[in-house]
């Protein structure tokens, strides 16, 4: 059977999704490096395509704009005054690269999720994540499906579907409950993402001016972060939380674990290297000794601190944006 490629492609770390059109069906292909998985959607059975606009594209644009501005600021502030043209070009590579990425994302347009409804199930079509691609795909598919099923008139829809009285939409009874969605205002996530930004600030402050008080505050915020991450992970399991916020919570867990583990192991190594084994008998003396380590002078610790601060800041800002753009009452109990 001959297949023709339809617009849209989604590429993950090692997976790729594409959509193809055959004689009598759509073929959704999930490929990894060494194999392909297929799902077929026959034209005679396709009941509907359901598209929901998402904020991923908008958030990417905001992050890229911030990064472009920051890198341009760094170039303007720190670029030597009298340098050659190749050196200027080298300095301009990063902001220009980010600007190009921003332009590409703007040209590609708004993002969405697309599902196809079949008689018994609803499947996601991951390759269709740009509204532009969905429109182009529908323009190609519509005539093929209508050739098999016939044309659907508005009169038929109105005659077949139940009409509800004007009023709030949540008065409509729920149908096909898939999972129970519990009441959740997003409190743990809001606090978590806020604290991530504070943590980034504290890390940079400790990097510049290390002191015992700052070390203690940093440790307390670290403990609070881990507690909040656990609460947020638990909450997001059975509650409607934006998928990007869920991803950022998991990313925050990875970043915090890696950051704290690296700094702890390396700081312990420095203490062992100082050959003062008495420190290990007294917790307070150990914390004081850790506070005295000049982090900005140590090449490894300074890199870990800067990377950690940047990662926590990115997680915090992205998570807050995801929560802010999805601010809608996820408070209905279905079932």
């Amino acid at each position: 059977m001959k297949y023709t490629r339809l617009p849209g492609k989604k590429a993950g770390f090692y997976r790729r999704w594409t959509l193809w059109i055959g004689e009598d069906h759509l073929l959704s292909v999930e490929s990894n490096i060494y194999s392909e998985h297929y799902k077929r959607f026959h034209f005679k059975d396709i009941q509907a395509f359901i598209v929901r606009r998402t904020v991923h594209g908008l958030i990417t644009n905001i992050i890229l704009t911030i990064l472009a501005c920051l890198s341009a600021f760094v170039v303007v502030m720190y670029m030597p005054k009298q340098i050659s043209i190749p050196a200027i070009l080298t300095w301009a590579v990063l902001p220009c690269g980010i600007l190009v990425m921003l332009l590409i994302n703007l040209v590609k347009g708004a993002t969405c999720t697309c599902h196809v409804k079949m008689p018994l199930t609803v499947h996601e079509l991951p390759s269709l994540w740009r509204i532009k691609h969905v429109d182009r795909m529908l323009a190609q598919i519509r005539p093929r499906v209508e050739a098999v099923q016939g044309r659907l008139s508005v009169d038929k829809i109105q005659a077949t579907t139940a009409l509800t009285a004007p009023g709030p939409l949540n008065s409509i009874p729920s149908f096909f409950p898939r999972e129970e969605i519990l009441e959740y205002g997003g409190g743990a996530h809001w606090f978590l993402f806020g604290l991530l930004i504070v943590e980034a600030g504290l890390t940079l402050l400790r990097y510049e001016h290390g002191s015992l008080a700052l070390t203690l505050v940093n440790m307390a915020s670290g403990i609070a972060l881990f507690v909040l991450i656990i609460i947020a992970l638990r909450k997001q399991k059975a509650r409607a939380v934006p998928s990007l916020a869920k991803t950022m919570t998991r990313a925050a867990l990875a970043v915090c674990t890696a950051g704290y583990l690296l700094s702890y192991v390396y700081a312990s190594f420095l203490l062992v290297k100082s050959r003062n084994m008495k420190l290990f008998d007294n917790e307070w003396a150990m914390v004081s000794a850790l506070a005295e380590v000049e982090r900005s002078a140590d090449p490894f610790l300074s890199k870990v601190d800067v990377a950690y601060a940047a990662a926590t800041l990115l997680c915090g800002v992205t998570g807050l944006l995801a929560m802010a753009f999805n601010r809608q009452p996820h408070v209905k109990r279905t079932g």
Binding site: I33, V122, K156, T161, I172, F176
Partner: protein, 203 residues
């Protein structure tokens, strides 16, 4: 005056499973979820309102002279399996890609990957062969082992079913060329008149 009435359609929200509703001026409509209040754009087709096709159970035999189904001797045969030739009743007949097949042939065809309409997974042997011919090149020393494996894989899987999508044998050919080159290079190293590495290693 705006008509605020909404039609509930038999489509459930992909996010929360609640039922969707919307006002229709064309088959492309804006739908609202009653559960999570998300807004969707939907393109509806007649199959949504068609209902499920009734299951045909097959007619019982009326006369002795009538042919019976191979699997249900008491039911009247209506078609012949296009692979094995068995008589089938309406219940046993499986229409697939324009063919009438019996359940056994469908199951065998699925297992042997003869019915492409039922294939849900394919291994890309050409990609594996190409990786096996290129990635060990980075480390050089695994290549005496991986190059013959690559050549064996190419010969063994040259005719194995590959991707359902349009795909040439370019990867197989490239992998074969690279693996052959590796084998030739190692043969030159081991069998050179001076003895090469072989002599250095074993005296």
């Amino acid at each position: 005056m705006i008509d605020d009435s909404r039609n509930i359609v038999p489509v459930s929200c992909p996010r929360c499973g609640a039922r969707l509703a919307g006002s229709f001026s064309s088959p492309a409509a804006s739908l609202h979820c009653a559960g999570c209040e998300a807004v969707f754009q939907a393109e509806l087709f007649p199959a949504l309102f068609r209902g499920m096709d009734p299951v045909e159970l097959g007619e019982s035999l009326h006369r002795k002279e009538e042919a019976g189904c191979f699997y249900h001797p008491g039911k009247r045969a209506v078609v012949v399996c296009e692979i094995c030739g068995r008589f089938l009743c309406a219940l046993c007949n499986i229409s697939l890609a324009g063919q009438n097949l019996c359940p056994t042939c469908v199951e065998l065809g699925r297992k042997r990957e003869q019915l492409t309409d039922l294939v849900t997974y394919r291994t890309l042997y050409d990609q594996i062969a190409l990786s096996l011919a290129t990635i060990p090149l980075l480390f050089i020393f695994p290549t005496p082992l991986t190059a013959p494996i690559t050549l064996y894989m190419i010969v063994h899987h040259w005719k194995s079913p590959s991707s359902l999508l349009p795909r040439s044998r370019f990867r197989f050919i490239l992998a074969g060329l690279l693996a052959s080159l590796q084998v030739i290079c190692w043969m030159l190293v081991f069998m050179s008149p001076r003895g090469g590495i072989f002599k250095a290693m074993f005296g």
